[in-house]
Structures are given as structure tokens and as C-alpha cells.
Symmetry: D2
Subunit: 364 residues, 4 copies
């Protein structure tokens, strides 16, 4: 089957570099075009980038000539655009590609709250993509090509909602939810990213805007598509109350979240039932046979001192989420520790899997 | 005024070393005797210890000859015994000194749950010492000298209860309390202590027994002396529910705790009222003029990204507790971040201040 | 071709765990038997081990029953024994297996200095294996099976000699050699290994015995097999002088070494010639087609700030060595930075590749 | 005695903040004026600065109004100017103050190589200040006030030359000198300073310009004032060859340097003689009674695993240098490990001590 042409915006940044790594040798996509700032445009990628990944710069990317982030040139020929742009420029650029009929999968926060833009954790709420399926299908009937934007969720939201989804499906809605996060520094990029002196023998108990993102995005992701398949019904503050406390710590990759939750139902499940539901959960992406989908969506750990980021973040290539220390909570119903790979399921990796799903659903 | 003779048990360990540092040049105490394992007994301290403090080994300690941890020799002549013993030996040894009429201030966990042993955070519940005051006074009337044990609280409990005490005094009892801790490694000692590979680019989301200690000790410390001044009325599970999640992270000193609480009273105070009560709080030790008592018991920080362990742990030489990010909580009433110095107010330092208070109250 | 039966001694330790990871699904070897302390013997491996690797415990190892480290049971049926034993027990145990005709590849230091035991860095001095080839062949002529021991070098020696070998081959002997190492903590194992408090915001400028190992082992590895193929001619102190300064730092995997060297020849090569020789070097293991042999033995990096352990340690799965900052030295001839993966080419990984080479040479 | 009025340029930066900390409550100086960028000018210091020190912002600094870095206002009234400016602006600004008759003590690199500017490590080459003494005295004879600049050395140079000075005085010139540094991140400031991802589980084996600074500055500092007391005779490449290899590692404060040296004299001293000379060394600043001068300039450590940055960097408030592991070197004569506090003796602290010396010598 012909490979889909993929373009990467913000190609020299940390998210862009990871998109490129994941697209090299991908069975569905061809790394076709790269966009970056005017400073980089016109250069070969190998000359434009300060490559800072643990894997070598893929040969297939080295000689690609970087373009400006505009709907022109090879970028305009792509089937799907992956955007790793900073939020200060993402809004306008992504809109331009969308308006010109392209599928845009974005890591930026700009359109996450837009009423008709799906906010997707690809192991959780792939049903929300029905909105773009409909939009594209309707246009196709008219012989048109309709662009759209799909947003990747915030990294710490992704890990949080992964175990919640099967729990809600099995035991009904969640009433109260608290999450204290211990977040890795890779999520902050590297120009400059988190300063070394801030995380050496230290914690920063604050990440700008992060707590609000967790509290808000959870309500969209756990919400539903509305009846006419054109937008979303978010959970209201009455339906779920969410409280987050976010910390930046000296971990390279992998967000750890100490969470606690209370179900709405009086009759709460047993600890063993909670574990079993998590163990049994298979995400739709896996059922669709997507290349990057995790075989085990949730890894339930029984060791008393797990999950640990260094040891557990790479389960299923970072697409699997680890949950440990599941136990009763004297204040709410259950508490547990959730670990997810912030640059995989929480950023670039999620974007790739979303595109795989879109392809499996014939949307791109 | 004559200095009180002080002995240190477990003198070569990490807690013992800190007792020694704090006792050197202390205005109330003379470092008089040292106890350690039979392997060290008979040696000069300088030859027995692998000194691992950032301050140099005090001259006054170097030539002290280490004794076995028994009620004999110079240890038997002490006015107060500071115990940094491990729990596997502390039980018997501390009892021997107590039974022989000595005042024992212990960092071990063995007697924390004993009905007539005060469990003290010296900036919080010094009123609990009335039990030993009475015991000693009653004996004195009969011309006797009565020994006793006072326990230092667990390190993470100390930081947690510091802001709770003035809040309870001002706004009434707390109904629900959650604490997710990010704990320093110094608390685990250094033979071997926390393994480097466990905290490098990693978190261990588990500390053996720690969550139980926080949940139980809080109920004793926030409880009251009973009517006849011989024991304690702990808060019951109905009076307060406490839930802790403990993590070990790559910080040398200083426990950070993300806490959340709900008052029993329907009418909850404003954020500003909470801050004001914390700012105004003066611990009894300060009012008594104790040498080590913090001038500001609680430092209320207004910067959005504080407290941070590296920057804030040494306030008032580690005896002051920092509280920041005080804000309303969508799930409980308020959330905030508490930072305390685990080896000062949470261990050896607390022991010294407790002894200063006992001296100020003429108990030793 | 039939798989060779492999046994692992010290199977629950850090080196043993890595042997097991590397042997699972190996094309040459079958993980056949496991030896550990009497405490573990009789248990299934999954129950005996505290698994602390980033990859999951291989299914093929889980149900293997651990045996004592003696020449009996399944261990006695092995074609090759990989020893990750501590040096306090390795001497006797390895000798027993060797005396009973087995091939032993050992990570312990006990036999490294034995006159007839090859000390091997498998990307460097595979010609030294001729001694065991001869020993085994001679015995075979007599219808006997002769055991032998091959020692893996010290981890920091491995990285150091990797670039030296091709340089000596091209430009003649080295007169003076200095190496200041910045060593990872994984090399120290994890019971207890390096204490966290020793490497958090800290360096320990000392590793017991390490400098002596580097200074001595280099002379054996860069030396030659003697004329009758029964032992080794070490370089003498007149032939090469080596000086090492070793530091333990907060890196998980990957030893960085700042080295400087002076050739004996007056006419020294250019920097570019040095680089070219390193780039061109192909180890014998690669030419033999060994499964784990690095495609590029030496990666010459041109970026001014490389190699870096986190980014470069995994080249060729850790079997490739990275060399950067090659430049003239005002004091000796050249200085450069060498990075090698201490648990791969410097420990368990080296053992596996040595065994692959032995198999390729029909010694096992 | 009247306090000298002190001004700080670059007052909001990391070096400036440390100048301010050290000047608060200083017995010789009054913190009188603050200069920073136009963005900060006109604001109270407490409002202009993002304070990131472990000590609280001194009360005496809070309400000082920040000025632009020009010879005007209160800055023009100072007796001494401490410059923590970045090198891109330091050149012009410092010259303006100097040309207007002020004493400038600068941490910037701009004038370090100027022929008549002393480059001072205040525990090493205070005799080099004779040049400004003469300049000022000559002007005074003419009733004039002559400005001058004194440069603080590079941080890693400071630690290196500290033990060299007494060794050269005792045993004659050094022929060869190598230094491999493991440098703390505080030296790089904090906007942005060293990125966290660069030092977490990592080393960066390169610091821009650092090796050249060490190799060049050592020759000026160990050189001499010329005969007419107007400039310096640097050591030539024939007199000493210096080679440095610099690494950035995960330490907050304290540069560790593994050094090796060879004396010119054939007859080299014993290890014990080297130690004794270092132990006996007293810097001139101490003899002059300067407030910040270290009581022990060099701390010679006998423990095999010291100095360590976390444990030893604060000797004599960071003005004392620790030297350990002094031993013979198979390649040069001696090797040893030197630890110095980079922000004290290697930056702001050195500036304060230099000013104290200038005052003691009646130059300011």
C-alpha cells in the first residue's frame, strides 16, 4: 500500500525531532517534508538541527531540505502534517494547513479547547475521532477534501486518563479525582527547557498552566461526542471534580502521577476488580492493528515499589502505561501510581499513533 | 548556668553524627558521652566514625572515647540521652536508660505508639510534654528521679503537622487530609541508605512503613493529653481521615509534601485567612526562648514556584517550615505545598529542640 | 545449527541479570542453567530475583530453577558458563567448572592476572584467544575436553583500550598514557552499589582498585601472546607508562574517559590521520560475523560537545565505542574523550561477544 | 572606620546576586548602588530580581533602586564597583567607570588579558596588585584619582593555581601541567544556564572557551610583575606547558579538578614534602587580616575518597581549597584532586576578597 506523505512542522525542536525518529522506517508514512523557522529554511536538515536524541539522526531525514512553515512546496503535498510548533506560532500555521484541506495532528495547545477539534489520547478516546470522520466523509460526498486538526493531549493528562477510561466503562462515572504529578524534564523541550540548577537536588512544585490543563482536558477526554457528531459534551464540574498538583523533578522521561479517585456509585468495586479491569483493557488502536499500538495498554504491577520511571517507562515502546500500588484510599475510594512516557504517549508518539488510527479509519 | 551532660547513642550513624554537630558549642548541653556498637567501643570517636557531614567533625568530639550502649561509664552520668539507634536495637537500650532514671530523646520508632510516651514535633505539640513533667515532678516529691522517653516523630509527619496545628487551632478540626510526599534521601541514612541507581533519573514510589506512620502519627500529634495527664487521646478514624502517598526522589535534604485538606466546619476560611494564621503562628519553643527555636515557625511563600528544597530548606537553620502555593482545592478545601528539613525538624534537630524545651520546663 | 547450552553464575546479581537478558533469544546460545547462592537455589528464577532491568524479565528465564554454583545438575551440562560472581566466591567456583572441562567466561577479577588466562576486550585483542584455541585443540587431539577461563576486562579498561589498539597498529607503540575517568554507577551493582547520597550533587574521586586495574590491564591487553602460544608478554613499565585518575559520578550507564597519549615515534600523525584510523577500524568479531559485534567499532564524533553518555552510550547496542574531541595536546601528543557502555562492552555484553567469538573459532 | 561605598553591576544576575549577599553586613563595605539592564532600572531591587539564592534576599538590598549601568547617580558615588556583567556589555561599561576614576573589580573576561590589568586569585597572586597600587599612588601624588580594573580569574583556573603557587615557591617552576575538570553548573548562571537535560544522567565534555582560559590564565597568574611595575611577564610556552580537558557535570557548586604536574627540577620532592608545603601555606590576604580570607588556604585531606564537592566545598566559607589524593604519578611527577568553590573563590567571593585586600593596602 502506498505510504502516506508526512510533513513535520517545528522539525528542529524537541517534539519535531521525535516525530522524525518515529516516522523514519514507518510502515504507513513517508517522511516527506520538513518545516521550521525561516532561519533554518533552505538548509539540509542535518545542517539545520542540533540533534539531541539517543538514536542517531535517521539517514532518510539528513538531506531533506527544510522549508518555511507555510502551505507551499513539499509541505503542501503532504497527506498529513505533524505539528511540533510552539504555541506562539502554532495557531496561525496549523489553521493555514487545515484550511487548505490537510490533516493536521498537533502537539500544541492552541486548538485543544476548540469545540469541534478532537483532543485525543490514542489509547483512550479514539471514538472522539468520529467527528473528523464525519466531516471528511461529508466533504468527500461533495467531491471535496476537508482539512481538520486533531490535538494531542497534554502529557500529564494522557497518563492520568489512561487507567480512568476502562474504570469508568466498568464501574461508572468518577466523582472526585486528585493527581499529584512528578514530571520529567524532557517535556519542557531543550531551548532552554528546564534549567539544570532547578532540578539538581531540587524540585519545582509548579509548572505553568499544567494543573489547569489536567483539570480541564480530563473533562473533555472523558466526555462524549454530542448527538449530531459535530462537537463534544464535556463533563461538568458537577459530574467530576478534578484537582491536580504538579511538580517538576529530576527525571529525563516518564511522568509519575500519584492519583486518587472516588466513584459516583455507592457500591465500589474491590481492589482486585479494579486491577482486573485494567489488565483486561485493550485500546481500539490495538484492535485496529495499528503499528504502534501497545499490546498491553495498561501494565498492572504488583511489586510494592513500582512503577519506576527508569525501569518502566519503555513498556510497549512507551505506548503502554504502567499502574502500580493499587490500594484502597482512606479519603477517596482508591489510590494508585500511574507512569506514562511523556514524549511517547504524551506527545510525539501519540501524534503518530493518532495518524495510524486515522489511516486505519480511512480518514487520511 | 551549668551545662547539662548529653550522651549520644548510635553516635557513628547518620542521625548520631547530626546530634553531635548540633551539640558541639550548644549553650545548654555538653557533649559528654558517646555510645555505639561494640565494634567501635574503646576507640576515639575520630577513629570510629566515617564522618560524612558537610561541616567538619567538631574538635570537642574527636577525642571522646566511644562506649557500648549500656547504662554504665560516662553514659550513665548523663542528664539526657539522645538516641539515634536503629529500631532493631533501640527498644532494649532505650528502656535500660529510662528505667535507670535518665531522660531519653529518641529518633527511633519503637516507642512512638506507647500510650504514655509523648510523640513530639517541637514546633507543634509541646503541650504533650506535660505527661513527663508530671511524672518527673511526682517522683521528685518522693525524692526520686524518674526516667522517661520522648519520641521524635517520623520526618514526613513533622512537616505535615506543622501547618495543621495552627489551622486546627484557628478553624477547628480537619475532616480529610491527603499528602503526597517527595522525600529526600538523607532520611534513609548511609549504610547503605538509598541506592544511587534507584534515584538517578528515577523515583521510587514507595517507602516501607512511611504511609502508615504518617497516617497514624498525625492522629497522636493532633490529639490531646487525657484528663489525668497520664496518656493521650488520639484522634479517631471518625474524627480525621488521613491518606498518604510517599515517594523517594533525588533530593539530598528536605521533604516536599503536596497536601490537601478539608475542615469539618461548613464555613471554611478564605485563602488569605489561612495564610495569615500560618504567618502569625509562633511555636511555644520560641516563646520559651529556646536556643534552636525558629523565629518564624511557618514561612508563607507567595512566589508561584516555591517552596523548593534546595532554596528553602534551611530557613531558621532548618527549624522553620515553608508553605507555599496555598490555594483552594476543587476536591477538598485547600491545597498547598509544605517543605521541611527532614534531618533537622524531622530528626536529630527536633531531638535537640525537644531537649531544650525540657530544660526550659525544668524537666531535665 | 544446534544452540550451545549456556549457564549463568551469579544469576540474581546485576551482571547475571544482564547475561540473562542478552542470552534470551540469542541465535547461538540457549539459556539453560542458572546458578546463585544457596538462599536462591531451588527457587524459580522469577521468585529468586529482584529484577531491576529496564527490559522485562524474559519469559524463557522465569521458570528456570536456580541451582547452587557447583559442577552438578544442569550447570554441569553446559557448553559455556558465564560468571557474574563476586570476587569473594568466583575464584573457587570458576576453577571447579574449568577443571571439569567447561569453558568459563568470567566478569570477576580473580583470574585476570593469571599468566595463561586471556584478558579480553572483544573488540580489541581477540588474537589473545589463540592460547585457549591451542589448549582445546591439543586436548582434542588426545580425545580430551579441556576447560578454560577467559576473563572480561575491567569496565574502564575496555573503553580506554578500544581506540588505542588501532592507533598502535597504525602509528606504533604508545609511550605515555593518561586517563581521567568519569564512571557510571551501574558498574558497582546494586546490593548496595553506590549510595545515592554519594553521587547526588557530588563526585567521589576514588574507586577502590580501579586505577591499578586500568594501569595493569592495559599492559596485558596491549601486550602479545608469547612465542609458544601458552602465555602473554605484558608491556613493561619501560614500554608504556599509564596513569589513571578515577571518579564516580551521577551517570547510570556509560563511562567517559578524558585521555591523553604520546606515541614513541618522534614523527607523530596528524589529527586527521588519527581520526581516519579510528573510523576505519573493524574488529575481528565483526569480520567473523558475530551476532553482537558492532558494525562500527569506533564512532568518531565531530561535534565539539560529544560524546555524551546519555546520547551516545547505546551505539551499536552498546558494543560500539564513541570517541570525540580528538585534538592535539600541549603536554602529550593527542587528547580525546572516549565513551563506552560499561555494562555492555565493559561487562556482561563483552562476555557474550567473547563467547560468540569462541564459537566462531570452534573453541566451544 | 567609614565603610566604603560599593556598587554592583549586573545586580540581578547570578554573580550579582552573590555580590549582594556577600556585601550585606560586610564590615568594610556598604551596599550602596545597584546597576542592571534598562528593563530593571527604576525598580526596587526586590521587584527587579528573581532571587535564586539559598539565603534570603538581604533586607538592606530590597529597597535599593536599580539604576542603569552608567557612570551617573549613586553608582558614580561608589568607592568600588563590583561587576557581574556579561561579557557582551562588560567591556564598555567597566571602561567608563574606570576612566572616571573608579576601582572596578570584574568577574567578566573582557580585560583579563590586558597587559596592565591584574588577573587575581586572591589567595594566590596578590603581589600582582602592586601595579594598581603604583598607578593609584602616582596619581595621588599629582592630586588625582586614578581608576583601574582588576579581573577575577576564571573559576576553574582559580582552583587549579591555588595549590600550584606554594609548590612553585617551594620546589621551583612547573614544567608540565594537566587538568581534567568536573565543573559545577552554578558557574553558568541561570538564564538559562546549563539545561537540565544536559546534566541529568549525563556529562557534557566541553565548556566553550574554558580550556583556553585555563591554559592561558595560568601563565599570567603564575607569572610576575615586570621590573618597572607596569605590567606582567607571563610564563612562556617554553616555561610551562598546560593542558586542560573540561567537563560539565551534575554538581551544583564546586569544581573538582584531577591534576597532574611535573617540576622542572630533576630532584623532585617527596609526597610528604608536597603535602607539608600545602598545609603550611598562608595566603597574604589572611596575613593582612582580611575579613573573608581563609584561615587555612589549602586543606590537605588524607581520606582516600576526598575531596568531594558536597562535603568539602564550604571549607572556610568557600575561600579554602581542598586537595586530596596527593600521590606520585607514573607519567608526570605528582597527581592530586583539587576542589574549589566556583562561585566563591572562583567568582563573586573572589571579587569581595580582592576588594578587601585593596582596602587593606589603601588602594581604595
Amino acid at each position: 500500500m502506498a505510504l502516506k506523505k508526512a510533513g513535520v512542522l517545528g522539525a528542529t525542536g524537541s517534539v519535531g525531532q521525535r516525530f522524525i525518529l518515529l516516522l523514519a522506517d514507518h510502515p504507513d508514512f513517508e517522511l516527506y517534508a520538513l518545516g521550521a523557522s525561516p532561519r533554518s529554511a533552505g538548509k539540509k536538515y542535518v545542517d539545520a538541527v542540533k540533534w539531541k536524541q539517543t538514536s542517531l539522526l535517521p539517514e532518510s531525514a539528513k538531506d531533506l531540505v527544510v522549508e518555511e512553515c507555510k502551505f507551499q512546496g513539499k509541505l503542501a503535498e503532504c497527506d498529513v502534517i505533524f505539528s511540533g510548533l510552539d504555541s506562539d506560532v502554532a495557531g496561525e500555521v496549523e489553521k493555514e494547513f487545515c484550511d487548505n484541506g490537510l490533516a493536521v495532528v498537533s502537539n500544541a495547545k492552541n486548538y485543544r479547547r476548540s469545540p469541534d477539534v478532537p483532543l485525543i489520547v490514542p489509547i483512550v478516546n479514539t471514538d472522539h475521532l468520529s467527528i473528523v470522520e464525519k466531516k471528511v466523509a461529508d466533504a468527500k460526498k461533495n467531491g471535496e477534501k476537508k482539512g481538520f486538526i486533531v490535538c494531542i493531549s497534554n502529557c500529564s493528562t494522557a497518563g492520568l486518563v489512561a487507567p480512568l477510561k476502562p474504570l469508568v466503562d466498568a464501574f461508572g462515572p468518577i466523582d472526585l479525582l486528585t493527581a499529584t504529578t512528578l514530571q520529567a524534564i524532557s517535556g519542557a523541550g531543550f531551548s532552554p527547557g528546564v534549567s539544570g540548577i532547578d532540578v539538581l537536588d531540587n524540585i519545582v512544585p509548579f509548572i505553568s498552566g499544567e494543573e489547569e490543563k489536567i483539570e480541564w482536558e480530563t473533562k473533555k477526554i472523558l466526555g462524549q461526542v454530542n448527538d449530531d457528531n459535530t462537537g463534544f459534551k464535556l463533563l461538568s464540574d458537577d459530574e467530576i471534580r478534578v484537582s491536580a498538583q504538579c511538580n517538576r523533578i529530576a527525571v529525563s522521561d516518564g511522568h509519575t502521577e500519584c492519583i486518587s479517585l472516588k466513584f459516583k456509585n455507592e457500591k465500589k468495586p474491590s481492589v482486585e476488580e479494579v486491577k482486573q479491569v485494567l489488565r483486561d483493557y485493550q485500546c481500539e488502536a490495538f484492535k485496529l492493528g495499528c503499528h504502534s499500538a501497545p499490546k498491553n495498554t495498561i501494565h498492572v504491577l504488583e511489586e510494592e515499589d513500582r512503577p519506576q520511571p527508569r525501569l518502566d517507562r519503555d513498556r510497549d515502546n512507551g505506548y503502554g502505561v504502567s499502574v502500580g500500588r493499587i490500594r484502597e484510599d482512606p479519603v477517596l475510594d482508591f489510590k494508585m501510581v500511574v507512569l506514562s512516557h511523556n514524549t511517547v504517549i504524551g506527545a510525539a508518539g501519540a501524534g503518530i499513533l493518532i495518524a495510524e488510527i486515522l489511516k486505519a479509519k480511512n480518514v487520511i
